[in-house]
Symmetry: C7
Subunit: 85 residues, 7 copies
C-alpha cells in the first residue's frame, strides 16, 4: 500500500514543553517512527522548529493532532517522501 516514509514539517511551538519532551511525545505515537527535531529560531515566547518524522505509514493527521495537543501548530508541510503502492 502506498505510504509516506518521510514527512518534514515547519512547526511553531511554545517554550513548554521543551524540545526534548516535545520530540519524545511525538515519537511515542508509533514504534517505527524516528523523530528528528531541529530548533531553527527561539523568540520570546515561541520556538520555530523543523521536524522530520521518518518511518513507515507516517500519519500526518495523527502527528498534527499531537502537535496541537502539545500547544503547538504546523506552520507548513515542507517535504513528503512516499513508497509506492
Amino acid at each position: 500500500m502506498a505510504n509516506v516514509c518521510r514527512l518534514r514539517l515547519d512547526v511553531l511551538k511554545p517554550h513548554k514543553p521543551n524540545a526534548y519532551d516535545f520530540a519524545l511525545a511525538l515519537s511515542q505515537l508509533d514504534a517505527t517512527w524516528k523523530v528528528v527535531l531541529e530548533v531553527l529560531e527561539i523568540d520570546q515566547s515561541t520556538e520555530s522548529i523543523c521536524l522530520d518524522v521518518v518511518g513507515k505509514h507516517i500519519d500526518f493527521e495523527k502527528i498534527q493532532a499531537k502537535i496541537n495537543e502539545l500547544g503547538a501548530s504546523v506552520h507548513s508541510i515542507d517535504a513528503v517522501e512516499t513508497n509506492g503502492g
Copy 2:
C-alpha cells in the same frame, strides 16, 4: 526496453489537497514509484513544489493527468533519467 527511471517536475499546486495527500495520491499510481515532494514556495493561494518520481517505467502522461486531476499543473520538466533499451 528503454524506460525513464527518474523524472523531476516543477509543479504549481493549490493548498488543497495538502502536500501530504498530494504525494500519497501520486505514489498510488504505481507500486514501484517513490515520490519525493519538496515545497519550494508557499504563496497566498498556491504552492510551488519540486516533484521527483523514481522507479521503473515512469510515465509522464499518467503523472501529469493525476496532477491535473488534483487541481495542479506541471510548470516544467526539469530532469529526466533513463535506462537503456
Copy 3:
C-alpha cells in the same frame, strides 16, 4: 578497444518533443546507455539542456544525428570520459 564511457553535451532543443520524450528517444539508441537530462534554462521557444550519456562505446555521431533528427542541436561537447584501448 578504447571507448567513450561518458559524454556530456550542451544541447539546445525546441519545446517539442518535451524533455521526457527527448531523453527516451536518445536512450533507445543503445541498451547500455543511461541518459541523464537536466533542463538548465527555458526560453520562449527553446530549452537549454545538459545531457549526460553514460555506458559503453558511446557514439557521439549517432547521438548527434538523433539530436538533429529531434529538431535540436549540439551546442558543445562539455566532457568526455574514456576507458583505455
Copy 4:
C-alpha cells in the same frame, strides 16, 4: 520504549573546569553516551559550547543537573533525535 538517541545543547560554561574535564564528567553519566563538545566562542570569563550527547535513553534532566553542578548552564536545546516507542 521511545527514547532520545541524540541531544544537542547550547551551553554556557565558565573556564573551569576546562572543556576536557567538562566533557569527561558528562560522559561518566552513562556508559552508552558519547559526548562531543565543540567550543564555539571564548570570552573573558565564559565559553560558549555546542554539546552533542549520542547514545541510548539520553536523559536531558540528568545532563542538565550535571551541567549546573559543573557551574555551567543550558542556554538552549538545539536538536533532539528519538527512536520510536
Copy 5:
C-alpha cells in the same frame, strides 16, 4: 618501480578534432589509461580543456607528443600523483 598513476594537464586545443575524438585518440595510447576531459572554455578558434589521465605508468612525454600531433599544446602540468618505487 615508481610510476605516475594520475596526471592533470591544462591543454589548449583547436576545435578540430572535437573533444570526443581528442579524448578517444589519447586513450588509445595505453590500455590501462582512463582519460577524463573537461572543456573549461570555448573561444573563437580554441578550447581550453582540463585533461586527467589515470592508470599505470602514465607517460607525460608520450601524451604530450600525441597532444601536439593532434594540433594542441600543453599549457601546464597541474597535478601529478605517483605510486612508490
Copy 6:
C-alpha cells in the same frame, strides 16, 4: 571507564622544533594516539597550529606538559570527544 577519544587543541609554537618533529614527539606519548597537525598561520617567530589527537584515553595534561616542554603553549581546547563510562 569514560575516556577521551579525540581532543582538538589550538597551539602556539615557535619555529623550532619544526611541525614534523613537534608532531612526532607528541605521537611518541602513546602507541594508540594518532596526531594530526595542521599549520594555520606562520608569523615571524611563531606558528599557530590546530592539533588533533585521536585514540584511547587521550590525556590532556600529559599532552599539555609535552607541548610546554617543546617550548609551545596551548592557546585553547577547541573540541573534545569522549566514549561512555
Copy 7:
C-alpha cells in the same frame, strides 16, 4: 615506533624539472610513499606547489634534501599526520 604517515609541504620549484619529473623523483625515495603534487601557481620563473607525501615512516629530511637537490626549496610544513609509538 611512532612514525609520520602523511606530510604536506608548500614548495617553491623552478620550471625545470617539470612537475611530472619532480614528483617521480620524490616517489623514488621510498617504495611505500605515494606523492601527490598540486601546482598552485605558476610565475615567470617558479611554480608554487602543494606536495603531499603519504606512506610509512615519511622522512622529512630525506625529502627536503631531494627537493633541494632538484633546485627547489621547502617554503613551509603545512600538515603532519603520525601514527602512535
